[in-house]
């Protein structure tokens, strides 16, 4: 592999992240600054304003941490989609400016592909069936003939969004800026009694909207302990996720299972997937903390892989793609020789 360094910018949603990696896959810096809404969910324009405010600072900090001079960089990568338009455009603008000022090639990266690639880089998984779970995505995918094919996904909201909305709709008190999924996880750990909730699996697809509505109304009834509701909510949602992953595993007959994305940080979900994978004799791995949530490193690394396969984008054609699906992207670097 040729020598070089790539700086990657991630800005699909509430995180503005910058990562620096070498072409060999050494991670040199991973700096992140998150937009925290006053209340409610992510306001795209407000988040974009935040990204614009912190962009300079985060890029400088990442370069400083990596001990690399701007002139030593070989490549600039940015997340081109999918995501929130205003946020994506802010990151893209920063990336274009850097590429143009430093006269470097630019690579647009698919955010979902990046979550899979960072999982593979950090865990050594080669050809896994991947469960990618975050605030915006819930996808079961695996490599097949040049692309990551989608075997299952949510039919409505993402599981992370379901967890977040559940906390926001409730009157659970929480510390501002703390991941809402972690609040559910902590409360659920103290719950014991299972209250039946809608369990919606359709083939390898799933749906979370009914579960969200039912769980929120359980809380509002005030008949149950909040710990028990969180426990039941989490058990139901994660059992659904594990079941569809298991279905896809039986269908694809892959030998590895990879858990990636922001919700991958949940230890209960990790446990369930580990038990399931072991039952099928598959090796289970989970992306390490620091690389589960959105980050610039995954963009930088996927940028390297793309660039080494001739996939760069001229600045004038580097439009963001807010609805860019995972299975639309060619991934020529995943060759059969990597897959034993």
């Amino acid at each position: 592999m040729s020598k070089g360094y790539c700086l990657g910018i991630e800005s699909t949603a509430d995180d503005f992240g910058v990562g620096v990696v070498s072409f060999k896959g050494e991670i040199l810096a991973n700096i992140n600054d998150s937009y925290v809404p006053e209340k409610g969910g992510i306001h795209p324009r407000e988040a974009a304003r935040h990204h614009a405010d912190v962009a300079g600072k985060v890029i400088t900090e990442a370069l400083k941490r990596s001990k690399i001079e701007p002139k030593d960089l070989t490549l600039i990568a940015f997340s081109q989609g999918p995501g929130l338009g205003p946020c994506l455009r802010t990151g893209a603008t920063a990336a274009r400016s850097l590429a143009s000022y430093l006269n470097l090639p630019l690579v647009g990266v698919n955010h979902c592909v990046a979550h899979i690639e960072i999982g593979k880089l950090t865990t050594g998984a080669l050809d896994p069936l991947t469960l990618y779970v975050s605030g915006g995505n819930t996808i079961v995918s695996a490599y097949e003939s040049g692309r990551y094919r989608i075997f299952g996904e949510t039919l409505d909201i993402a599981v992370g969004n379901c967890l977040d909305a559940f906390v926001r709709e409730s009157d659970i008190k929480f510390e501002r800026g703390k991941p809402l999924g972690r609040i559910v996880e902590e409360l659920a750990a103290k719950g014991k009694n299972y209250i039946p909730l809608p369990y919606t699996v359709k083939g390898i697809d799933l749906s979370f909207s009914g579960l969200l509505t039912a769980a929120v109304s359980l809380l509002k009834e005030k008949k149950y302990d909040v710990e028990d509701v969180c426990f039941s909510f989490q058990e139901t949602a994660f059992s659904m996720l594990t079941e569809v992953t298991e279905r896809a595993l039986a269908h694809t007959e892959k030998k590895e299972v990879l858990l990636t994305g922001g919700v991958a940080a949940n230890t209960r979900l990790q446990t369930m997937l580990r038990i399931m994978s072991e039952e099928h004799g598959a090796r289970f791995s989970v992306v390490p903390k620091g690389y589960s949530a959105d980050n610039g490193v995954m963009i930088a690394w996927t940028g390297v892989l793309s660039y080494l396969h001739g996939m760069k984008v001229p600045i004038e054609k580097s439009f963001v793609k807010t609805k860019w699906r995972l299975d639309e992207v060619e991934v020529p670097w995943v060759e059969k020789r990597d897959i034993s």
Binding site: G136, I150, A158, K202, L249, H251, K323
Partner: protein, 214 residues
């Protein structure tokens, strides 16, 4: 019951080949999942065993070939059913010449149409759940996720899943296959109902988080 041979360990159940009152049968035993808490696990297993046996029978009444159900044991989440000779459509579809592939897909579409007309939604329409017999009949299996409904929404989801299964498994023939499925479906349900379901599929696809409008 004796001399069971494990023929397939699926995601959800194990299938055993056995003689049952001198018939060649499949015993489908749903497995308890260690990752799920027992309360949830027991409820899911019981519900699916019940639905599967009931709707497999209803499907036959609707003119859709399914294995005959001989025996149901809810306590042990077990169904004993007829053994179907043949191959999974998944295994043969890509290998066939185009005209035969289209014929099979049209046939599948007709069968899905017949299910929907009878108010049955299969819930897991993949080509692994269809068996092509030596007589070229298609037999639907695995009704564990099926439900009874006449609404457009679940019908749309059913066909959307079928399309997605074709996209991920038979990606070289997606357009040809799905078009043929819809032709068969339309033969049974007519133009109007088919259009309504197709519109529903588009709506479902647009509802997804990141789907380019095609």
């Amino acid at each position: 019951m004796k001399k069971e041979i494990l023929v397939k360990k699926g995601a959800e159940a194990s299938l055993y080949l056995q003689k049952w009152h001198s018939r060649k049968t499949i015993m489908k035993k749903r497995l308890s999942k260690k990752y799920r808490i027992p309360e949830l696990d027991i409820a899911i297993q019981a519900q699916r065993t019940k639905r599967e046996s009931q709707l497999m029978h209803r499907a036959k009444e609707a003119g859709v070939p399914t294995p005959i159900v001989y025996f149901v044991d809810l306590q042990n989440s077990t169904i004993v059913m007829e053994y179907i000779e043949g191959k999974q459509v998944k295994q043969v579809l890509d290998e066939l010449p185009s005209n035969e592939r289209i014929k099979i897909c049209q046939n599948i579409g007709e069968l899905v149409g017949k299910l929907h007309r009878a108010g049955i939604v299969h819930g897991d329409l993949t080509t692994s759940n269809m068996i092509l017999t030596p007589k070229d009949d298609i037999v639907f299996i695995d009704f564990g996720l099926s439900e009874q409904t006449w609404e457009d929404e679940p019908r749309g989801v059913d066909l959307h899943l079928m399309k997605r299964a074709i996209m991920s498994t038979h990606f070289t023939h997606v357009d040809e296959c799905f078009k043929a499925v819809i032709e068969g479906y339309e033969k049974v349900l007519g133009k109007k109902a088919t259009k309504e379901v197709l519109d529903k599929i588009t709506e479902i696809e647009r509802r997804g988080r990141y789907i380019t409008e095609r």
